[in-house]
Each structure stands twice: as structure tokens, then as C-alpha cells.
Subunit: 78 residues, 2 copies
């Protein structure tokens, strides 16, 4: 699975785990909501600064948002 | 410590642990050597695609290259 897809899935899961809307995450991270929506659909190739700002707004680490889970890494084998 | 600095330190450490020159890493990852040199000096704001390509060329994961170690996270407190 491509890193953009891994990031998209992790970002959405972390946001939803916090019960946060895209609107609220956008406000906290000072990033446009439509850009967050695009990131969650793997549309853009985010920079590490953006990954960091989103991670901080979600109370997690940038590395966590790029981490392949069992599910995302096994897909890579297909 | 800023994420660019964390990435710069992790990238250099992973490359040197493999005994790889910037030249060889550039060749393997199909990225310009001078860009790698700049990344190792925190000059640029790398994209996650670039982080992924460098991680694969180094036989590691993108998340590992953004991971804060004890040393890089304690600096954050200063």
C-alpha cells in the first residue's frame, strides 16, 4: 500500500478516535479543511511539516501517522 | 526538535548504519544527491513520497525515519 494511502487511513482513524470533525482538526492544525479532506482521500503528497502539525493537533506523533499496521502492510504483498 | 531536524538525523544515521554514501543512496532512491545532502541538513520540507523512497532504499520504514528517539524528543523540552 502506498504511503499516501497509509497516511490517509491513519489520519482518518486518529481523527475519528478523537471524535474530531475535519472542521475541528483543520482549525486546531491551522490547515484548510478541504486539504484535510483531500489528504484523507490520498489525493496529495503531504510534506513532513504538515504531517507534524496534524499529529500535534491529534495528540500523536508524526511517525505514528505513517506507520504501517498489520492490515496496511499485508496489502503491500498483494 | 522540529520534524525536519528529526528526519535529517534519522536519515543520516540510517544511511551511515548501512555504510552507504549519499551518492549510493541517491542512486538507489533515484533522488538527486544534492537534495539528500540538503535533507540531512534540514534544509527542505520533504514530502512523504520522498521519505518513503529513501526508507525503502535504506531497507526501513517511513515511520522509522520520522520517529523521535529519546534524544530528539528530550531536546523538544528545552
Amino acid at each position: 500500500m502506498e504511503i499516501r494511502e497509509v497516511f490517509a487511513q491513519n489520519l482518518r482513524a486518529a481523527r475519528q478516535a478523537k471524535g474530531m470533525s475535519q472542521e475541528e482538526l483543520a482549525h486546531r492544525a491551522d490547515i484548510d479543511r478541504t486539504y484535510i479532506s483531500s489528504l484523507e482521500r490520498s489525493v496529495y503528497n503531504a510534506s513532513i511539516d504538515v504531517v507534524e502539525r496534524l499529529a500535534m493537533a491529534l495528540g500523536t506523533e508524526a511517525a505514528e501517522l505513517l506507520k504501517r499496521s498489520q492490515e496496511t502492510s499485508t496489502n503491500q504483498v498483494d
